[in-house]
Protein backbone atom coordinates (compact mmCIF):
# COMPACT_ATOMS: atom_id res chain seq x y z
CA UNK A 1 0.00 0.00 0.00
CA UNK A 2 2.99 2.24 0.45
CA UNK A 3 4.41 1.86 -3.02
CA UNK A 4 3.72 4.13 -5.95
CA UNK A 5 2.15 2.44 -8.96
CA UNK A 6 2.36 4.23 -12.29
CA UNK A 7 1.75 7.74 -11.02
CA UNK A 8 -0.98 6.82 -8.55
CA UNK A 9 -0.32 8.57 -5.22
CA UNK A 10 0.23 6.39 -2.19
CA UNK A 11 -2.36 6.52 0.56
CA UNK A 12 0.24 8.03 2.87
CA UNK A 13 1.23 10.79 0.44
CA UNK A 14 -2.35 11.60 -0.40
CA UNK A 15 -3.53 11.79 3.20
CA UNK A 16 -0.52 13.92 4.19
CA UNK A 17 -1.64 16.47 1.63
CA UNK A 18 -5.42 16.22 1.97
CA UNK A 19 -6.31 15.43 5.59
CA UNK A 20 -6.21 19.06 6.80
CA UNK A 21 -8.74 20.11 4.16
CA UNK A 22 -10.89 17.05 4.86
CA UNK A 23 -10.94 17.79 8.58
CA UNK A 24 -11.94 21.41 7.93
CA UNK A 25 -14.69 20.25 5.61
CA UNK A 26 -15.91 17.61 8.07
CA UNK A 27 -16.03 20.00 11.02
CA UNK A 28 -18.06 22.48 9.01
CA UNK A 29 -20.44 19.77 7.79
CA UNK A 30 -20.94 18.10 11.16
CA UNK A 31 -20.49 21.05 13.52
CA UNK A 32 -18.71 18.76 15.91
CA UNK A 33 -15.01 18.11 16.19
CA UNK A 34 -15.51 14.59 17.55
CA UNK A 35 -18.07 13.68 14.91
CA UNK A 36 -15.85 15.16 12.20
CA UNK A 37 -12.84 13.12 13.27
CA UNK A 38 -14.97 9.97 13.37
CA UNK A 39 -16.38 10.69 9.91
CA UNK A 40 -12.98 11.38 8.35
CA UNK A 41 -11.42 8.34 9.97
CA UNK A 42 -14.28 6.09 8.83
CA UNK A 43 -14.04 7.44 5.29
CA UNK A 44 -10.27 6.97 5.21
CA UNK A 45 -10.64 3.40 6.47
CA UNK A 46 -12.94 2.63 3.55
CA UNK A 47 -10.56 4.31 1.13
CA UNK A 48 -7.50 2.59 2.59
CA UNK A 49 -8.76 -0.96 2.09
CA UNK A 50 -9.39 -0.32 -1.60
CA UNK A 51 -6.85 2.42 -2.19
CA UNK A 52 -5.37 1.15 -5.45
CA UNK A 53 -8.79 1.13 -7.06
CA UNK A 54 -9.97 4.40 -5.55
CA UNK A 55 -6.80 6.21 -6.60
CA UNK A 56 -6.87 4.76 -10.11
CA UNK A 57 -10.54 5.00 -10.97
CA UNK A 58 -11.80 8.22 -9.44
CA UNK A 59 -10.93 11.37 -7.57
CA UNK A 60 -10.00 10.19 -4.07
CA UNK A 61 -10.89 13.59 -2.65
CA UNK A 62 -14.45 13.37 -3.98
CA UNK A 63 -14.71 9.75 -2.86
CA UNK A 64 -13.81 10.59 0.74
CA UNK A 65 -15.86 13.79 0.86
CA UNK A 66 -18.89 11.92 -0.45
CA UNK A 67 -18.56 9.39 2.35
CA UNK A 68 -18.17 12.10 4.97
CA UNK A 69 -21.24 13.95 3.72
CA UNK A 70 -23.27 10.78 3.32
CA UNK A 71 -22.36 9.48 6.76
CA UNK A 72 -23.46 12.78 8.22
CA UNK A 73 -26.73 12.94 6.31
CA UNK A 74 -27.49 9.24 6.80
CA UNK A 75 -27.21 9.78 10.51
CA UNK A 76 -29.82 12.43 10.14
CA UNK A 77 -32.04 10.21 7.99
CA UNK A 78 -32.00 7.49 10.61
CA UNK A 79 -33.08 9.99 13.21
CA UNK A 80 -29.98 9.41 15.32
CA UNK A 81 -29.47 13.06 16.01
CA UNK A 82 -26.51 13.85 18.16
CA UNK A 83 -26.41 16.74 20.54
CA UNK A 84 -26.19 20.05 18.73
CA UNK A 85 -25.98 23.50 20.21
CA UNK A 86 -29.17 25.54 20.10
CA UNK A 87 -29.00 28.55 17.85
CA UNK A 88 -29.50 31.71 19.87
CA UNK A 89 -28.07 34.43 17.74
CA UNK A 90 -30.71 37.11 17.80
CA UNK A 91 -29.31 40.39 18.93
CA UNK A 92 -25.79 39.55 17.84
CA UNK A 93 -23.78 42.61 17.12
CA UNK A 94 -22.17 41.11 14.07
CA UNK A 95 -23.40 42.68 10.86
CA UNK A 96 -24.64 39.87 8.61
CA UNK A 97 -24.27 41.94 5.50
CA UNK A 98 -21.26 44.09 6.27
CA UNK A 99 -17.65 43.41 5.48
CA UNK A 100 -15.42 42.65 8.43
CA UNK A 101 -12.02 44.25 8.39
CA UNK A 102 -10.41 43.31 11.69
CA UNK A 103 -9.80 39.90 13.30
CA UNK A 104 -12.20 40.55 16.16
CA UNK A 105 -15.02 41.31 13.77
CA UNK A 106 -14.15 38.26 11.68
CA UNK A 107 -14.27 36.15 14.81
CA UNK A 108 -17.71 37.55 15.66
CA UNK A 109 -18.92 36.75 12.20
CA UNK A 110 -17.58 33.20 12.42
CA UNK A 111 -19.37 32.76 15.72
CA UNK A 112 -22.64 34.02 14.25
CA UNK A 113 -22.31 31.66 11.31
CA UNK A 114 -21.41 28.76 13.60
CA UNK A 115 -24.48 29.23 15.74
CA UNK A 116 -26.84 29.81 12.86
CA UNK A 117 -25.57 26.63 11.17
CA UNK A 118 -26.35 24.73 14.36
CA UNK A 119 -30.04 25.42 13.85
CA UNK A 120 -30.13 23.64 10.50
CA UNK A 121 -30.96 20.03 9.73
CA UNK A 122 -28.01 17.83 8.84
CA UNK A 123 -28.92 17.77 5.16
CA UNK A 124 -29.39 21.55 5.03
CA UNK A 125 -26.11 22.12 6.78
CA UNK A 126 -24.24 19.80 4.45
CA UNK A 127 -25.78 21.52 1.42
CA UNK A 128 -24.85 24.99 2.72
CA UNK A 129 -21.25 24.00 3.42
CA UNK A 130 -20.90 22.37 0.02
CA UNK A 131 -22.38 25.42 -1.70
CA UNK A 132 -20.77 28.32 0.16
CA UNK A 133 -17.54 26.78 1.46
CA UNK A 134 -16.76 24.25 -1.24
CA UNK A 135 -18.36 26.41 -3.96
CA UNK A 136 -19.99 23.38 -5.58
CA UNK A 137 -22.95 23.58 -7.94
CA UNK A 138 -26.29 21.81 -7.58
CA UNK A 139 -25.26 18.80 -9.65
CA UNK A 140 -22.08 18.23 -7.65
CA UNK A 141 -23.88 18.57 -4.34
CA UNK A 142 -26.63 16.22 -5.48
CA UNK A 143 -24.03 13.64 -6.44
CA UNK A 144 -22.26 13.97 -3.11
CA UNK A 145 -25.43 13.78 -1.02
CA UNK A 146 -27.14 11.19 -3.17
CA UNK A 147 -30.26 13.24 -3.84
CA UNK A 148 -31.89 15.16 -6.67
CA UNK A 149 -30.72 18.63 -7.70
CA UNK A 150 -34.16 19.99 -6.84
CA UNK A 151 -33.71 18.65 -3.33
CA UNK A 152 -30.37 20.44 -3.09
CA UNK A 153 -31.96 23.72 -4.13
CA UNK A 154 -34.67 23.20 -1.55
CA UNK A 155 -32.14 22.45 1.20
CA UNK A 156 -30.09 25.55 0.40
CA UNK A 157 -33.11 27.83 0.08
CA UNK A 158 -34.67 26.67 3.34
CA UNK A 159 -31.33 26.86 5.11
CA UNK A 160 -30.75 30.44 4.03
CA UNK A 161 -34.26 31.43 5.05
CA UNK A 162 -33.79 29.82 8.47
CA UNK A 163 -30.36 31.37 8.99
CA UNK A 164 -31.53 34.85 8.06
CA UNK A 165 -34.53 34.47 10.29
CA UNK A 166 -32.29 33.49 13.20
CA UNK A 167 -30.09 36.46 12.46
CA UNK A 168 -33.05 38.78 12.38
CA UNK A 169 -32.10 39.62 8.83
CA UNK A 170 -35.36 38.67 7.13
Amino acid sequence: MGERVSGVPTFEAWTAARVPALLRFAVLVTGSRAEAEDAVQAALERAYVRWDRVARTEDPDAYVRRMIANAHVSLWRRGRRREVPVAEVRGSEADPTGAASDPMEASDRADVVRRSLAGLSRAQRAAVVLRFYEERDDAEIAALLGCAEATVRSHVHRALVAMRKELGDD
Partner: protein, 371 residues
Amino acid sequence: MTEQQDEQRFAEFLRDGLRQLSTEVDVTVPVAERARAAVVRRRRRSLLAAGAATAAVVALVVAALAVTHGADRSRPLGPATTATDVPTAPEIPGGYRLESWHSVEVYVPVSWGWGGAPPACGVGPRLGSDGHRLVSGETVPGYVGRPVAQVRHCSQRSQGTQPTPTTPYVWLGASLAPGRVDLGGGWVQETRMVAGVTVTVAGDDADLRAAILRSAHPTSTGCDTRLAAPPTPGGSAEDGTFAPGSMLVCAYAADESAAHYDLLYAESLPAGAAKELADAVVAAKPLGEFSCYGARGGEWALLHLTQGWAPDAAFRDYVVDLSCPSIAAPDGTQHELTTADVLPWAVDGVNAVLHAPPQVALPGRLIALTR
Protein backbone atom coordinates in the same frame (compact mmCIF):
# COMPACT_ATOMS: atom_id res chain seq x y z
CA MET B 1 -30.56 47.55 -2.27
CA THR B 2 -32.27 45.00 -4.52
CA GLU B 3 -33.26 41.56 -3.26
CA GLN B 4 -30.58 40.01 -5.43
CA GLN B 5 -27.87 42.29 -4.02
CA ASP B 6 -29.11 41.53 -0.53
CA GLU B 7 -28.85 37.79 -1.18
CA GLN B 8 -25.37 38.20 -2.62
CA ARG B 9 -24.19 40.12 0.42
CA PHE B 10 -25.60 37.49 2.74
CA ALA B 11 -23.90 34.77 0.72
CA GLU B 12 -20.59 36.63 1.04
CA PHE B 13 -21.15 36.99 4.78
CA LEU B 14 -21.72 33.23 4.94
CA ARG B 15 -18.62 32.48 2.87
CA ASP B 16 -16.44 34.68 5.06
CA GLY B 17 -17.84 33.10 8.21
CA LEU B 18 -17.29 29.57 6.93
CA ARG B 19 -13.74 30.39 5.85
CA GLN B 20 -13.04 31.84 9.27
CA LEU B 21 -14.51 28.79 11.00
CA SER B 22 -12.38 26.49 8.86
CA THR B 23 -9.20 28.19 10.03
CA GLU B 24 -10.10 27.37 13.63
CA VAL B 25 -10.14 23.61 13.01
CA ASP B 26 -7.32 21.55 14.53
CA VAL B 27 -5.87 19.79 11.49
CA THR B 28 -3.08 18.00 13.33
CA VAL B 29 -5.30 15.11 14.43
CA PRO B 30 -3.69 11.88 13.13
CA VAL B 31 -6.86 10.50 11.54
CA ALA B 32 -5.01 8.81 8.67
CA GLU B 33 -2.81 6.91 11.09
CA ARG B 34 -5.85 5.97 13.13
CA ALA B 35 -7.62 4.76 10.01
CA ARG B 36 -4.71 2.55 8.98
CA ALA B 37 -4.40 1.13 12.48
CA ALA B 38 -8.14 0.39 12.62
CA VAL B 39 -8.03 -1.47 9.30
CA VAL B 40 -5.06 -3.54 10.43
CA ARG B 41 -6.82 -4.35 13.69
CA ARG B 42 -9.97 -5.42 11.85
CA ARG B 43 -8.04 -7.59 9.44
CA ARG B 44 -6.27 -9.31 12.27
CA ARG B 45 -9.50 -9.75 14.16
CA SER B 46 -11.12 -11.24 11.08
CA LEU B 47 -8.28 -13.68 10.63
CA LEU B 48 -8.56 -14.70 14.23
CA ALA B 49 -12.32 -14.74 14.42
CA ALA B 50 -12.75 -17.58 12.00
CA GLY B 51 -10.66 -20.00 14.05
CA ALA B 52 -12.27 -22.28 16.54
CA ALA B 53 -15.91 -21.29 16.77
CA THR B 54 -16.13 -21.60 20.50
CA ALA B 55 -13.04 -19.47 20.99
CA ALA B 56 -13.99 -16.81 18.48
CA VAL B 57 -15.34 -14.25 20.91
CA VAL B 58 -12.34 -14.58 23.18
CA ALA B 59 -10.02 -14.36 20.18
CA LEU B 60 -11.57 -11.15 18.91
CA VAL B 61 -11.30 -9.35 22.18
CA VAL B 62 -7.84 -10.51 23.01
CA ALA B 63 -6.54 -9.96 19.47
CA ALA B 64 -7.55 -6.34 19.71
CA LEU B 65 -5.82 -6.08 23.03
CA ALA B 66 -2.78 -7.87 21.69
CA VAL B 67 -2.50 -5.45 18.78
CA THR B 68 -3.09 -2.46 20.99
CA HIS B 69 -0.36 -3.50 23.36
CA GLY B 70 2.09 -4.65 20.71
CA ALA B 71 1.94 -8.37 21.45
CA ASP B 72 4.68 -10.65 20.22
CA ARG B 73 3.56 -11.76 16.74
CA SER B 74 6.04 -14.59 16.60
CA ARG B 75 4.13 -16.51 19.23
CA PRO B 76 3.58 -20.15 18.20
CA LEU B 77 0.19 -20.70 16.60
CA GLY B 78 -2.36 -23.05 18.04
CA PRO B 79 -5.97 -23.34 19.10
CA ALA B 80 -7.18 -20.15 20.70
CA THR B 81 -8.37 -21.38 24.04
CA THR B 82 -7.28 -18.82 26.59
CA ALA B 83 -6.88 -15.10 26.72
CA THR B 84 -3.12 -15.45 26.96
CA ASP B 85 -2.67 -18.01 24.19
CA VAL B 86 -4.24 -16.38 21.13
CA PRO B 87 -2.47 -16.73 17.77
CA THR B 88 -2.08 -13.64 15.67
CA ALA B 89 -1.86 -13.35 11.90
CA PRO B 90 1.55 -12.44 10.48
CA GLU B 91 1.82 -8.78 9.64
CA ILE B 92 2.33 -8.43 5.89
CA PRO B 93 2.69 -5.40 3.60
CA GLY B 94 -0.72 -4.08 2.61
CA GLY B 95 -2.61 -6.52 4.81
CA TYR B 96 -5.19 -9.05 3.70
CA ARG B 97 -8.17 -9.14 1.35
CA LEU B 98 -11.28 -11.27 1.38
CA GLU B 99 -11.89 -13.99 -1.22
CA SER B 100 -15.25 -15.72 -1.73
CA TRP B 101 -16.10 -19.06 -3.33
CA HIS B 102 -19.45 -20.80 -2.96
CA SER B 103 -20.28 -20.67 0.75
CA VAL B 104 -16.79 -19.94 2.08
CA GLU B 105 -14.64 -16.84 2.50
CA VAL B 106 -11.00 -16.60 3.37
CA TYR B 107 -8.48 -13.85 3.90
CA VAL B 108 -5.32 -13.84 1.75
CA PRO B 109 -2.48 -11.33 1.36
CA VAL B 110 -3.50 -8.42 -0.90
CA SER B 111 -0.36 -8.88 -2.99
CA TRP B 112 -1.47 -12.33 -4.16
CA GLY B 113 -2.86 -12.90 -7.63
CA TRP B 114 -5.43 -15.35 -9.00
CA GLY B 115 -5.36 -18.57 -10.96
CA GLY B 116 -6.73 -22.07 -11.24
CA ALA B 117 -7.07 -25.03 -8.90
CA PRO B 118 -7.58 -28.76 -9.38
CA PRO B 119 -9.33 -30.32 -11.19
CA ALA B 120 -9.12 -27.49 -13.73
CA CYS B 121 -6.16 -27.50 -16.01
CA GLY B 122 -3.90 -24.49 -15.94
CA VAL B 123 -3.34 -24.80 -12.20
CA GLY B 124 -1.11 -21.95 -11.18
CA PRO B 125 -1.13 -18.16 -11.06
CA ARG B 126 -2.71 -16.44 -14.07
CA LEU B 127 -3.39 -12.88 -12.88
CA GLY B 128 -1.49 -10.34 -10.81
CA SER B 129 -2.96 -8.73 -7.71
CA ASP B 130 -4.48 -5.92 -9.80
CA GLY B 131 -6.17 -8.37 -12.18
CA HIS B 132 -3.74 -8.05 -15.08
CA ARG B 133 -2.83 -11.17 -17.01
CA LEU B 134 0.67 -12.34 -16.12
CA VAL B 135 3.18 -12.44 -18.91
CA SER B 136 5.86 -15.05 -19.36
CA GLY B 137 8.39 -14.89 -16.56
CA GLU B 138 6.25 -12.67 -14.35
CA THR B 139 5.67 -13.95 -10.84
CA VAL B 140 3.38 -13.22 -7.91
CA PRO B 141 4.08 -13.80 -4.21
CA GLY B 142 1.09 -16.15 -4.04
CA TYR B 143 -2.27 -16.77 -5.66
CA VAL B 144 -5.85 -17.84 -5.07
CA GLY B 145 -6.98 -20.71 -7.27
CA ARG B 146 -10.49 -21.78 -8.12
CA PRO B 147 -11.43 -24.84 -10.20
CA VAL B 148 -12.75 -22.81 -13.11
CA ALA B 149 -9.91 -21.41 -15.18
CA GLN B 150 -9.80 -22.96 -18.64
CA VAL B 151 -11.62 -26.03 -17.40
CA ARG B 152 -13.73 -26.20 -20.56
CA HIS B 153 -10.69 -26.49 -22.76
CA CYS B 154 -8.45 -28.50 -20.54
CA SER B 155 -6.66 -31.34 -22.21
CA GLN B 156 -6.67 -34.67 -20.44
CA ARG B 157 -2.89 -34.74 -20.55
CA SER B 158 -2.55 -31.85 -18.18
CA GLN B 159 -4.97 -33.27 -15.63
CA GLY B 160 -3.31 -34.53 -12.51
CA THR B 161 0.13 -33.28 -13.37
CA GLN B 162 0.44 -30.77 -10.57
CA PRO B 163 3.97 -29.40 -10.64
CA THR B 164 5.98 -28.97 -7.48
CA PRO B 165 4.80 -25.58 -6.19
CA THR B 166 7.14 -22.63 -6.16
CA THR B 167 4.43 -20.11 -5.25
CA PRO B 168 2.22 -20.22 -2.14
CA TYR B 169 -1.44 -20.68 -2.90
CA VAL B 170 -4.94 -20.97 -1.55
CA TRP B 171 -7.22 -23.29 -3.50
CA LEU B 172 -10.93 -22.89 -2.91
CA GLY B 173 -13.10 -25.87 -3.79
CA ALA B 174 -10.24 -28.05 -5.01
CA SER B 175 -11.08 -31.74 -5.30
CA LEU B 176 -8.80 -32.78 -2.50
CA ALA B 177 -9.41 -34.72 0.70
CA PRO B 178 -8.85 -32.89 3.98
CA GLY B 179 -5.41 -33.55 5.34
CA ARG B 180 -1.80 -32.48 5.32
CA VAL B 181 0.76 -33.21 2.60
CA ASP B 182 4.49 -32.61 2.93
CA LEU B 183 5.62 -31.22 -0.41
CA GLY B 184 9.31 -31.16 0.54
CA GLY B 185 11.71 -28.32 1.10
CA GLY B 186 9.64 -26.98 3.96
CA TRP B 187 6.53 -26.70 1.80
CA VAL B 188 3.32 -28.05 3.23
CA GLN B 189 -0.16 -28.30 1.72
CA GLU B 190 -3.07 -28.50 4.12
CA THR B 191 -6.74 -28.96 3.25
CA ARG B 192 -9.72 -28.42 5.51
CA MET B 193 -13.44 -28.51 4.93
CA VAL B 194 -15.11 -25.23 5.87
CA ALA B 195 -18.80 -24.46 5.27
CA GLY B 196 -18.96 -27.50 3.01
CA VAL B 197 -16.09 -26.36 0.80
CA THR B 198 -12.46 -27.48 0.73
CA VAL B 199 -9.93 -24.79 1.59
CA THR B 200 -6.37 -25.74 0.68
CA VAL B 201 -3.36 -23.72 1.69
CA ALA B 202 0.22 -24.39 0.64
CA GLY B 203 3.44 -22.58 1.39
CA ASP B 204 6.60 -22.63 3.42
CA ASP B 205 5.47 -20.04 5.99
CA ALA B 206 3.75 -22.00 8.74
CA ASP B 207 2.38 -18.91 10.48
CA LEU B 208 0.81 -17.56 7.28
CA ARG B 209 -0.63 -20.97 6.38
CA ALA B 210 -2.21 -21.33 9.78
CA ALA B 211 -3.57 -17.79 9.79
CA ILE B 212 -5.17 -18.21 6.37
CA LEU B 213 -6.76 -21.53 7.31
CA ARG B 214 -8.10 -20.08 10.55
CA SER B 215 -9.65 -17.18 8.63
CA ALA B 216 -11.85 -19.43 6.47
CA HIS B 217 -15.50 -18.90 7.40
CA PRO B 218 -19.01 -18.92 5.89
CA THR B 219 -19.56 -16.19 3.31
CA SER B 220 -20.96 -12.85 4.39
CA THR B 221 -20.18 -10.56 1.44
CA GLY B 222 -23.78 -9.62 0.71
CA CYS B 223 -23.93 -11.91 -2.35
CA ASP B 224 -26.21 -14.94 -2.10
CA THR B 225 -23.96 -17.99 -2.12
CA ARG B 226 -26.35 -20.21 -4.08
CA LEU B 227 -29.27 -19.34 -6.35
CA ALA B 228 -32.02 -21.64 -7.58
CA ALA B 229 -32.34 -19.59 -10.77
CA PRO B 230 -30.23 -16.97 -12.56
CA PRO B 231 -30.08 -13.62 -10.77
CA THR B 232 -32.80 -11.15 -11.68
CA PRO B 233 -32.61 -7.40 -12.36
CA GLY B 234 -34.39 -5.00 -10.04
CA GLY B 235 -34.32 -1.71 -8.21
CA SER B 236 -36.56 1.29 -8.05
CA ALA B 237 -34.39 4.32 -8.69
CA GLU B 238 -35.41 6.58 -11.55
CA ASP B 239 -33.09 7.82 -14.27
CA GLY B 240 -31.52 11.13 -13.41
CA THR B 241 -31.95 10.79 -9.66
CA PHE B 242 -29.84 7.71 -9.01
CA ALA B 243 -26.23 8.46 -8.08
CA PRO B 244 -24.50 5.15 -7.38
CA GLY B 245 -22.08 5.11 -4.49
CA SER B 246 -20.79 1.56 -4.83
CA MET B 247 -21.18 -1.65 -6.82
CA LEU B 248 -21.16 -5.19 -5.44
CA VAL B 249 -20.13 -7.75 -8.06
CA CYS B 250 -21.47 -11.27 -7.53
CA ALA B 251 -20.23 -13.79 -10.12
CA TYR B 252 -22.14 -17.05 -10.53
CA ALA B 253 -21.94 -20.23 -12.59
CA ALA B 254 -24.55 -22.93 -13.03
CA ASP B 255 -23.88 -26.56 -12.26
CA GLU B 256 -24.14 -29.03 -15.14
CA SER B 257 -27.89 -29.50 -14.76
CA ALA B 258 -28.53 -25.78 -14.17
CA ALA B 259 -30.29 -26.80 -10.97
CA HIS B 260 -28.49 -24.08 -9.06
CA TYR B 261 -25.97 -21.30 -9.43
CA ASP B 262 -23.00 -21.02 -7.08
CA LEU B 263 -21.09 -17.91 -6.12
CA LEU B 264 -17.67 -17.87 -7.77
CA TYR B 265 -16.41 -14.50 -6.65
CA ALA B 266 -17.55 -11.33 -4.89
CA GLU B 267 -16.06 -7.86 -4.77
CA SER B 268 -17.20 -4.38 -3.84
CA LEU B 269 -16.19 -1.56 -6.22
CA PRO B 270 -16.37 2.21 -5.70
CA ALA B 271 -18.66 4.83 -7.19
CA GLY B 272 -16.57 5.48 -10.30
CA ALA B 273 -16.99 1.94 -11.57
CA ALA B 274 -20.68 1.92 -10.68
CA LYS B 275 -21.35 5.12 -12.61
CA GLU B 276 -19.36 3.88 -15.60
CA LEU B 277 -21.53 0.79 -15.72
CA ALA B 278 -24.82 2.68 -15.40
CA ASP B 279 -23.79 5.08 -18.18
CA ALA B 280 -22.60 2.25 -20.41
CA VAL B 281 -25.90 0.39 -20.12
CA VAL B 282 -27.84 3.53 -21.01
CA ALA B 283 -25.66 3.87 -24.10
CA ALA B 284 -25.93 0.19 -25.06
CA LYS B 285 -28.40 -0.79 -27.76
CA PRO B 286 -31.52 -2.52 -26.46
CA LEU B 287 -31.85 -6.02 -27.84
CA GLY B 288 -34.63 -6.29 -30.37
CA GLU B 289 -36.67 -9.36 -31.13
CA PHE B 290 -33.87 -11.63 -30.07
CA SER B 291 -33.90 -12.10 -26.36
CA CYS B 292 -32.38 -14.57 -23.95
CA TYR B 293 -34.94 -13.79 -21.29
CA GLY B 294 -35.57 -16.90 -19.25
CA ALA B 295 -32.26 -18.45 -20.18
CA ARG B 296 -30.73 -20.97 -17.81
CA GLY B 297 -27.26 -22.34 -17.24
CA GLY B 298 -23.97 -20.67 -18.03
CA GLU B 299 -22.24 -17.86 -16.19
CA TRP B 300 -23.84 -14.76 -14.73
CA ALA B 301 -22.89 -11.61 -12.91
CA LEU B 302 -25.21 -9.71 -10.61
CA LEU B 303 -24.12 -6.07 -10.34
CA HIS B 304 -25.75 -4.52 -7.27
CA LEU B 305 -25.43 -0.71 -7.29
CA THR B 306 -26.39 1.23 -4.18
CA GLN B 307 -26.81 4.94 -3.62
CA GLY B 308 -25.10 6.16 -0.48
CA TRP B 309 -24.22 3.96 2.45
CA ALA B 310 -27.47 3.90 4.39
CA PRO B 311 -29.01 0.44 4.93
CA ASP B 312 -32.18 1.54 3.16
CA ALA B 313 -30.36 3.25 0.28
CA ALA B 314 -31.84 3.07 -3.21
CA PHE B 315 -30.35 0.31 -5.36
CA ARG B 316 -30.21 -1.01 -8.89
CA ASP B 317 -29.49 -4.60 -9.89
CA TYR B 318 -28.06 -5.21 -13.35
CA VAL B 319 -27.70 -8.80 -14.55
CA VAL B 320 -25.13 -9.99 -17.05
CA ASP B 321 -25.77 -13.22 -18.95
CA LEU B 322 -22.43 -14.14 -20.46
CA SER B 323 -23.89 -16.90 -22.59
CA CYS B 324 -26.47 -14.72 -24.34
CA PRO B 325 -24.57 -12.34 -24.12
CA SER B 326 -26.60 -9.47 -22.69
CA ILE B 327 -27.00 -7.16 -19.73
CA ALA B 328 -30.41 -6.55 -18.21
CA ALA B 329 -31.18 -3.12 -16.75
CA PRO B 330 -33.18 -2.80 -13.50
CA ASP B 331 -36.44 -2.49 -15.45
CA GLY B 332 -35.75 -5.84 -17.14
CA THR B 333 -34.79 -4.39 -20.51
CA GLN B 334 -31.99 -6.38 -22.05
CA HIS B 335 -29.18 -4.49 -23.69
CA GLU B 336 -26.34 -5.55 -25.89
CA LEU B 337 -23.31 -6.61 -23.92
CA THR B 338 -20.49 -4.35 -25.06
CA THR B 339 -16.91 -3.72 -24.08
CA ALA B 340 -18.05 -0.63 -22.18
CA ASP B 341 -20.66 -2.70 -20.32
CA VAL B 342 -18.08 -5.15 -19.06
CA LEU B 343 -14.89 -3.20 -18.37
CA PRO B 344 -16.18 -1.42 -15.21
CA TRP B 345 -16.67 -4.69 -13.31
CA ALA B 346 -14.33 -7.15 -15.07
CA VAL B 347 -11.53 -6.39 -12.65
CA ASP B 348 -9.33 -8.23 -10.18
CA GLY B 349 -10.30 -11.86 -9.54
CA VAL B 350 -13.45 -11.78 -11.63
CA ASN B 351 -11.07 -12.13 -14.58
CA ALA B 352 -10.08 -15.54 -13.26
CA VAL B 353 -13.57 -16.99 -12.83
CA LEU B 354 -15.80 -15.86 -15.70
CA HIS B 355 -15.31 -16.63 -19.39
CA ALA B 356 -15.43 -13.89 -22.00
CA PRO B 357 -18.17 -14.20 -24.62
CA PRO B 358 -16.48 -14.41 -28.03
CA GLN B 359 -18.82 -11.71 -29.42
CA VAL B 360 -17.39 -9.03 -27.13
CA ALA B 361 -13.88 -7.60 -27.44
CA LEU B 362 -12.34 -7.79 -23.97
CA PRO B 363 -8.57 -7.81 -24.37
CA GLY B 364 -6.94 -8.95 -21.15
CA ARG B 365 -10.26 -9.31 -19.33
CA LEU B 366 -12.14 -12.42 -18.21
CA ILE B 367 -11.00 -15.87 -19.29
CA ALA B 368 -10.52 -15.94 -23.05
CA LEU B 369 -12.31 -18.78 -24.78
CA THR B 370 -10.04 -20.51 -27.26
CA ARG B 371 -11.66 -21.99 -30.32
